[in-house]
């Protein structure tokens, strides 16, 4: 089969005519679309403080966790290192640590999230 034959066959594809109601059907859909209110954008300005607090809390948690584990890591003998040994040392270090600070921080975060939630929903009413 030559290129010319191929061109002739593929150029002679059937053409179809849209059905008589096609344009009207499209316009109905378009009008419905136009009448639909635009989607509510995500409230970034309201969510931003919460996100910042959340990220800061997570970072603080990681730093505190690492600080808590540091003595345990230092106490582990690198020659005889094993994960259960490290976890046991970490548990001892955690028991020694004062838990009051963590409880206070958790309460504070909870109160802050409740406060921001009320403020966000209350201001819309």
């Amino acid at each position: 089969m030559t290129s010319d034959e191929l061109d002739r066959i593929l150029s002679a594809e059937d053409r179809i005519v849209p059905s008589s109601g096609f344009a009207a059907s499209v316009m109905d859909t378009v009008r419905r679309e136009a009448a639909t209110p635009p989607p509510i954008p995500f409230p970034w300005t309201r969510a931003l403080p919460g996100l910042v607090v959340g990220i800061a809390a997570l970072a603080g948690l990681l730093v505190a966790g690492f600080a808590l584990l540091r003595p345990a890591i230092a106490a582990v003998n690198p020659d005889t290192f094993s994960l259960p040994q490290l976890l046991a040392a970490a548990r001892v270090a955690a028991q020694k640590a004062d838990g009051a600070g963590w409880i206070a921080l958790t309460l504070l975060l909870t109160l802050a999230s409740v406060y921001f939630s009320f403020r966000a929903t209350g201001s819309r009413n």
Binding site: I9, L10, E13, F22, E33
Partner: protein
Amino acid sequence: MSATEDQADVEKVLAGDTSAFEGIVRRWQGPIVNLAYRFCRDRARAEDMAQDAFLRAFRTLASWRREAAFSTWLFALATNLFRTDLRRIPIHPLTLADIPELRDPRAIDGGLECEDRDRVVREAVYALPAKYREAILLFYFHEMDVPAAARSLALPEGTFKARLFRGREVLRSKLARVRVSPGLSEEVP
């Protein structure tokens, strides 16, 4: 098709006159439905796909940059949508090996009638890998205008030409044995 009419209708739609979009639909319904039909070979599905394309065009009309023709923008948008639709729901999982006339050359030793030969050629196009099939479909839809077809597929012309060349080579090699019965070739218009 008038570019100034398109531009005027677009301006009106963007200014809030939704009914002006009807002019765009009426001017472009034929080409867009036919483009969809080339992709899916199913009239009902082609109209559904074309309707989705017009709706997408209405939603994103503001993104048409005036340096390109409205038709170029509309064809690129529609082509992109049709390709996605066909990837989601393929028309049929046909391969070149599924076409009996290509699988068993003995069956065509006596030659095919013109219309059978044309059907085999078209079926072979639909059995090509998507990137070659799309290049060939768009090339012939745009009446062998390479720049227009490449723009519709959002491809550089070089890439488009390479795909077109490769697709036609595959087709020619697969269709090498297909020939029209002696005595019938004169009937080819």
